[in-house]
Symmetry: C2
Subunit: 294 residues, 2 copies
Amino acid sequence: MAIQGPSIEAVTLIDGVAADSIPVTDRGLSYGDGLFETMRVDHQGPQFYRQHLQRLQQGCQRLAISYHAGLLEQELELVLGMLLERPAILKIVLTRGGTTRGYRPDTTQTARRIVTLSTALTDPRPQQLQGVAVRSCQTPMSINPLLAGVKHLNRLENVLARAEWSDPSIAEGLLFDSAGQLIEGTMSNVFLVERGTVYTPDLSGSGVAGIIRSVIINHCAEALNLKVCVEPVLPDRLHSADELFVCNSVIGIWPVIKLDRRRLAVGPVTRRLQQCIQSLSASSGNASQPLSMP
Amino acid sequence: MAIQGPSIEAVTLIDGVAADSIPVTDRGLSYGDGLFETMRVDHQGPQFYRQHLQRLQQGCQRLAISYHAGLLEQELELVLGMLLERPAILKIVLTRGGTTRGYRPDTTQTARRIVTLSTALTDPRPQQLQGVAVRSCQTPMSINPLLAGVKHLNRLENVLARAEWSDPSIAEGLLFDSAGQLIEGTMSNVFLVERGTVYTPDLSGSGVAGIIRSVIINHCAEALNLKVCVEPVLPDRLHSADELFVCNSVIGIWPVIKLDRRRLAVGPVTRRLQQCIQSLSASSGNASQPLSMP
């Protein structure tokens, strides 16, 4: 059999129909012309569900992709009803749809919806507790304000950066833009703590603005009475920061205890933010009580 | 039926098997993790066939994608044997293959091969003769030397640039990098003629190094005793150049007779290059007499 199906236990709906393949003419394949969201589903439901749907909507606006939000939500409900095991990972991919030849988008087209629910392969809690080792990557991130922040399907830079190491003891790699500024991890956002203040790179030129990052900036800061600054971050600050951590919707917050040759302790601000995220995520799966996002 | 097939007459082989869909887990869809080639097939065969296969090989080396070149060539032969009508368009997509979750490539994996032969929808010859109108696009091209030149599947910038206009009288849009340098067209490379010398933008930071562009640089220059320079090109030169043209493997060379508000004549150097490309392409479908590429 030449075409292989998914190798993990998963259910996929494509435009509402159980399926495991898409047409080769899909613009997601041809051009990376689409967006995605990945979230963790636990006993309370999909964590930060409303925020993910809102970011998807904002990304579609940026790329001028129109989609049927009502059908998508129905399909998400449907697939969540099939949930066999928790925790699970819920992934949404929207592509601009099929194409004949050529880059020009068909403005009358609505997006193809791909919704996949799969069992969580790994438990992120040991690393949340103990922290992780990370490395600096050489692969430069492009600067493009038009695409920056959006979780689109053009992710070759992340792939090439992740291919820089195979040592399983290194959990993540840090990425810098072509001007040398710190941007993010290959699959995560990155935060520094300096004298009690929290900093995370400005993503107006490169990177993906993650949901956990947004929750930290927009909710944890106030809840914990912490100053959180979004600003350009030069790499030398990584070598003097009091605390470092990486975060995303699947792993939560992982403290960094080793960066290249530098060793760090898990710090008190990181621990407080972990507790805040855990507390907020517990209620975020309840769609009737969404956190508001800016 | 939720999933639509291709809307043009086409035959597709996926890893050697007639098929029209790929698994949703394919990394080409998830990350744009792959490459493509598009070439024109006429009565002599696929134009500049060896050059396209060579560029594909070089792109795979850049992205560390391994593929079975022997099987690919067999499949290309097979699909070319099914040819109903000429001219046709032959498209090759190689993706890194399927994935579980995560950016990390599986280095033991070989690429998924997608070979599509379809009828040519349009005839590029009227525009070759009469020339075309082009416009300057606002969408900036990212600068990333690691990906520059490679015909990979991360093409959102081209899509967004092509979405800038819908006027069917405009055939192509010119793209500039975030530093303001001229790079290429949305689907083509661009050349300027100044006092008999031919110039085309350096693509070490952005853009796709097209096959027709390579043939002009490496073969036509010598055959026609023309000086062809590859160098950074600032946009103001577009407004003073004696001749302008865009080129790719499907359209050949299209003289530019209008750029934004500027009107130009089809010039003698452009005509000589068109003749040279036509002459070289006529023999290039013969695999036993390949043009060598640097």
